[in-house]
Amino acid sequence: MDIDWGSVFSLMPLLKCFFVGGIICVIGQILIDKTKLTPARILVIFVTTGAILGGLGIYSYIVDFAGSGATVPLTGFGYNLAKGAIEGVKQSGIVGAFTGGVKACAGGIAAAVFFGYIASLISKPKIKKQ
């Protein structure tokens, strides 16, 4: 049997991405099912965990390994905040610690507000059918 190793290796980044992203979601699901944490608290835990791991330089290894699988979930937002703050300090000193994080995430935040607004104009919340 001929195996096209080229195409197998080109799928690897995708697999890694889904694997790591999925693991992060599974952690969230376990927290919902097995603890009394509310979704809002789980959200905050994920963002701060990402920020702490990002600040310690650990999360960047996960990002190198899984790409979007690590940056798209909430922990990726925390990682981005930490990374931005570190870069901000390098560029403009201690003030950068306060400005850098939000600057790095500005695109994401503005897009969330913008698309959230558009969605609220064109749709109405409903009960999930199942």
């Binding site: 699901q29 009394k36 009960i127």
Partner: protein, 333 residues
């Protein structure tokens, strides 16, 4: 009317439940009791702009339905007891602002329906000829107020219950052929320290057991006296806890006990986790299903026990435990 034992009241001329009506939302319409309700809605807005308006419309139309079914005119109704889950009971007061009947707004959380029947029965024994009792709840408005807005698309934990979209209404009358309200046992507030707003069943089960045991002690009855003992919205988890507590106190209720939150949805296909809840649950299950069983004499002696979690979103966020209550009413044909 006289007091029995510690906290029960029996009636000299037991009030008759003249008629009942119920309207429920789309999810309830897919449930096992769908055929018993007067009206089933296809969407949760019912042509209104907001869920709050939809809930007001549901209770208003339920009241209109019960008045027209009963054959008595609204001017003959002496007073009305109504309530719901929303802040300041707006569904009831907004929905019933045009009915021109003296109005008492009640809040007993999910126990409100039996609370209204209890107070209505007391009125019938004292001054009134006809009393209207109604309660409602709506899944979307309740989630928004007590937990998170639906827009957030939250996951619900396995212990959570599904607030019923719907309303039930009953008219009590002085002289009738039954079913009769023979006895009521108003409950005490019981707080066992449960703090999880997503596990109301566990918080309310001790209040249910307390009221049921008090009812048996006060009246000298035992579980086998009743054809059915029905709790209003403990759900699957709360129901199991309630059975355990009653068993530990020497009362075997497994054979004739069930819960409105268990009855209204199909567990396997409807994904409601721990079953239904909300003032509209016991109200619609009683008005739709149980009342017809009483009328057809399939149930002759019913103990209806509605349980309420007397909490709000602020106390939940501040980490307070959930004070709970259960009111029991004995209905016989």
């Amino acid at each position: 009317m006289k007091k029995l034992g510690k906290q029960s009241i029996s009636f000299d001329t037991p009030p008759t439940i003249l008629d009942c009506a119920s309207i429920v939302g789309p999810k309830e319409s897919d449930g096992p009791l769908a055929k018993y309700f007067d009206q089933t809605l296809e969407d949760e807005f019912w042509g209104e702009k907001s869920w709050e308006k939809a809930e007001s419309k549901i209770i208003k139309e339920t009241v209109n339905t019960v008045i027209s079914k009963s054959g008595i005119s609204s001017t003959e109704i002496d007073c009305c007891f109504a309530g719901d889950l929303l802040n300041q009971c707006i569904s009831s007061s907004f929905g019933l602002r045009d009915i021109n009947i003296p109005f008492f707004g009640l809040f007993g959380a999910c126990s409100t329906f039996v609370e209204s029947l209890s107070l209505g029965s007391i009125c019938i024994e004292s001054f009134a000829n006809n009393v209207l009792c109604a309660t409602s709840s709506h899944f979307c408005s309740a989630e928004k107020q007590f937990r998170f807005p639906l827009e957030l698309g939250n996951q619900r934990p396995p212990s959570s219950q599904w607030t019923v979209t719907g309303a039930g209404a009953a008219i009590l009358t002085k002289s009738g052929q039954g079913p009769f309200v023979t006895c009521i046992t108003p409950g005490k507030i019981v707080d066992m320290g449960i703090k999880d707003a997503n596990n109301m069943g566990a918080a309310m089960a001790p209040a249910f057991a307390d009221t049921v045991i008090t009812h048996f002690l006060d009246t000298g009855r035992n579980p086998s006296y009743y054809d059915a003992i029905i709790s209003g919205d403990l759900g699957y988890i709360g129901k199991d806890i309630a059975i355990d507590i009653l068993r530990s106190q020497g009362y075997q209720v497994e054979k004739n006990y069930n819960d409105c939150g268990v009855l209204i949805f199909d567990k396997a296909s409807q994904d409601t986790h721990s079953g239904g809840s909300g003032c509209g649950c016991v109200a619609s299950v009683f008005s739709g299903y149980l009342f017809k069983q009483l009328k057809e004499r399939k149930i002759k002696k019913l103990l209806l026990v509605a349980t309420g979690a007397l909490t709000n979103s602020t106390t939940a966020q501040q980490g307070e435990s959930i004070p709970s209550i259960a009111h029991a009413i004995s209905i016989e044909v």
